[in-house]
């Protein structure tokens, strides 16, 4: 067992432990912090696989953007130190059954499937240079059209969230 294998299993365990705290904790702030840690360890797994750019994106966007936004909204909508209300037992049971059955089925499929590489030669290094070249390429397997579409999606989300969260003046509400 080489060192990178051991590091992978340690990181995977940490991801699952903090993911479980995120889902099961009754204190919302603790859940948010463990979500942050879980996402950071996922970035560690990407680094271990040599996907530097994706790890950087994960840290910048998820940890630095999304989780901070979630923590802001927790501060805006919750009193400090308040425990979350208990979930309904019926829904807890159905969610547990769904998750356990789904996990069992997926594990069964994964174990009964022999994954073989399609092509073994000519690996492309996932460097920023290669990623950028293929992303803005419009001749062979380029991704310039989804890139433009995602630009418009981000613009729409920006405008939409401003429109939704804007505070109406008193005159309009009446």
């Amino acid at each position: 067992m080489s060192a990178s294998t051991i590091i992978f299993y340690v990181l995977a365990t940490l991801v699952l432990v903090f993911g479980a705290i995120t889902v099961f904790s009754r204190k919302i702030f603790r859940a948010a912090i463990s979500l942050l840690l879980s996402l950071s360890f996922i970035a560690g797994i990407y680094l271990l696989w040599g996907m530097d750019f994706i790890a950087a994106l994960q840290i910048i966007i998820y940890v630095g953007g999304i989780v901070v936004l979630i923590i802001f909204s927790i501060f805006l909508t919750h009193r400090a130190g308040e425990k979350l209300s208990k979930p309904l037992p019926k829904r807890l049971l159905s969610a547990g059954i769904m998750a356990v059955i789904g996990l069992g089925f997926t594990s069964w499929v994964v174990y009964n499937n022999a994954f073989a590489p399609a092509v073994t030669s000519g690996a492309v290094e996932p460097t920023v240079h290669n990623i950028g070249l293929q992303m803005l390429n419009y001749t062979s397997y380029g991704y310039v059209f989804p890139f433009e579409v995602i630009n418009i999606l981000l613009l729409a989300a920006l405008v939409g969230s401003i429109v939704i969260a804007i505070k109406k003046t008193n005159k309009e509400e009446e």
Binding site: V23, I28, L35, I42, M51, I61, I70, L84, A99, I162
Partner: protein, 104 residues
């Protein structure tokens, strides 16, 4: 170099996915439901990166799909935080059992 078998990576990501599914269906608070959605999206990202690295190393398709998923997740979370804050302003709570105005 010896590698972790792909099935172990898939077990990791599917466990994370179903943790997220459990949280999404059992929580009553809108923000914790959003956190579960983030877990689900991240497990899918791990899957894409693992398939790209193990099975199709001659292309970068998984990297692109991961990047697009990250962007869509950012857009989704910003919109839903706006909705949550608007709901809180109107109902003074974000518990899904109490915000049932649009329930049929």
């Amino acid at each position: 170099m010896e590698q972790v078998p792909l099935s172990h990576v898939l077990i990791l990501s599917s466990t994370l996915f179903f943790l997220g599914v459990y949280g999404f269906f059992s929580r009553r608070n809108l923000i914790t439901m959003l956190m579960s959605v983030e877990l689900i999206l991240n497990s899918v990202n791990i899957n894409f990166i693992a398939f790209n690295k193990y099975l199709f190393p001659h292309q970068l398709e998984g990297v692109f799909f991961t990047m697009f998923i990250i962007v869509v997740a950012a857009a989704e979370i910003s919109l839903s935080i706006a909705i949550v804050i608007n709901l809180y302003r109107r109902f003074k709570t974000i518990d899904i059992e109490d915000t049932t105005t649009m329930k049929f």
